[in-house]
């Protein structure tokens, strides 16, 4: 019985619903006027038309939702439509750089607007007036906090997506030569980024049949034990594929750090300059770059010429 009572107490009076529907255009006008005149309204962010359209849909959905249900519980199917509408609004507003509190405030502001209309309706019955104000406030409070939370969630999603995009952008794999690829690393390496980088590098090695993969860390400010371990892991995984990994761009400060941390880079090929790494990569792939004039003479004298000396690269 108590729950029925409670439900009844929280369901708006049919008279209120009727009044809200009948005076919809007046309420809408007054609401928009209040919004536009309020000190925190930023007209640059949203067009008047858009706000009118949003507000009208919202007001209608609100009246429909509360017509037959308990405003305490915003879970019923009566509220599905208005929740969906709010999510759309919240998404659109997040994209327009509205803060979550601005969006919530928009919902709360309807309370103030409704007050004079309710007062009109229940002039002679202050008790009912109080009850109805209370019920509608409760409903709008719930919706306001709902949109606050969902705006924040939307923002988090946008940020996550951007992080993901940046991650992808920040790990390009460059084809340097036939069977030689290079992965220039720039910025701080965290575990997620390194993981993704390693996966991309390995997949690219297989796809392009790269015999040598150069990992250039010129743009990496510092190397700590964890980053060094990732690099070692990558080098080992590259070797398992049957390719060779060269780490280049190891400057004095990184070399010092590595030795101080006691990190063992035995078996890992490191070079100071990217160009040294590329030279090494040519050697490993049995290729050499020769000056154009001497291209013909230098052939004869090369030792070990019997083993697959394939490409002499010189461009006319």
């Amino acid at each position: 019985m108590t729950s029925d009572n409670n439900a009844l107490q929280n369901t708006p009076n049919p008279r209120t619903i009727r009044m809200l529907s009948e005076r919809e255009s007046e309420i809408l006008e007054s609401w928009i006027e209040n919004r536009v005149n309020s000190p925190d309204f930023r007209e640059t962010l949203i067009s008047g038309e858009e706000m009118t359209a949003d507000s009208q849909s919202f007001l209608r959905a609100f009246v429909t939702a509360i017509a037959n249900s308990n405003v305490e519980e915003m879970r019923g199917k009566e509220f599905n439509a208005i929740r969906r509408l709010l999510l759309d609004i919240s998404e659109a507003r997040a994209a327009q750089a509205f803060s979550p509190s601005e969006t919530a405030f928009y919902v709360f502001s309807l309370k103030e607007t409704l007050l004079p209309f309710l007062r009109d309706e229940y002039q002679d019955d202050p008790q009912i007036l109080l009850d109805e104000v209370n019920k509608l406030s409760k409903g709008l409070d719930k919706l306001g906090s709902f949109i606050f939370v969902s705006t924040i969630k939307n923002r988090e999603r946008v940020i996550r997506q951007q992080q993901q995009d940046m991650l992808e952008l920040s790990t390009p794999v460059v084809q340097i030569w036939d069977r030689i690829i290079c992965l220039p690393l720039i910025g701080t390496l965290d575990s997620r980024r390194t993981q993704l980088m390693m996966e991309r590098l390995l997949e690219r090695i297989v796809r392009s049949r790269a015999e040598v993969a150069i990992l250039d860390i010129t743009g990496v400010p510092t190397v700590d034990t964890q980053v060094a371990n990732y690099l070692i892991k990558t080098v080992n995984a590259v070797r398992l594929l049957g390719s060779t990994c060269i780490i280049t761009g190891v400057g004095p400060s990184i070399a010092q750090t590595i030795v101080h941390l006691g990190i063992d880079l035995a078996g890992i090929i490191t070079r100071n300059q990217l160009s040294d790494g590329i030279r090494m990569a040519f050697e490993l792939t049995r290729q050499k770059v020769v000056p154009i004039n001497s291209a013909t003479d230098s052939d004869a004298g090369t030792e070990g010429g019997d083993i697959d000396e394939r490409v002499q690269s010189a461009h006319p």
């Binding site: 996966e199 390995l202 892991k233 049957g242």
Partner: protein, 139 residues
């Protein structure tokens, strides 16, 4: 599944082993045994194991690969494992299995080239009288 036998082909001096599907531990042990027997019977000088179709290599299979490489080496045959998938390589490293003593190559073509180079090297060293088995066993 245990009735299924991994085929071992001999092409020239090389034994070609291609593991086509996920096999159970018994089949792994049996494969190792058969490869060694084939080296002896056919006097193959090299073994190429293609695992490009294997979606998973755990410590048991990893150990089999290492063992074949070192045992074959004692029998004077070179081994190369080809076609390890990227995800498998990452997992092996995380598992702590770097297969240090095993030569690897990207695919069968590269694997055969490496084996040929190795065999040539070995011959040259022997021709020069510089052969000692320590030098070859380690690789």
């Amino acid at each position: 599944m245990s009735a299924f036998k991994v085929p071992i082909l001999k092409v020239g001096d090389v034994l070609l082993v291609s593991i086509q599907s996920d096999i159970d531990d018994r089949a792994v042990v049996e494969l190792q045994q058969r490869v060694l027997e084939q080296i002896e019977r056919t006097s193959a000088r090299a073994v190429l194991i293609d695992i490009s179709l294997l979606e998973m290599v755990d410590s048991f299979t990893g150990r089999m690969l290492s063992d074949i490489a070192s045992m074959a080496s004692i029998m004077d045959a070179e081994t190369v494992v080809v076609g390890i998938q990227p995800a498998v390589a990452i997992t092996l490293v995380e598992l702590g299995l770097e297969l240090k003593g095993v030569s690897t190559a990207l695919d069968v073509d590269d694997g055969l080239r490496i084996l040929r180079e190795r065999m040539k090297d070995k011959q040259r060293r022997r021709a020069a009288g510089a052969d000692d088995w320590h030098a070859t066993a380690g690789n």
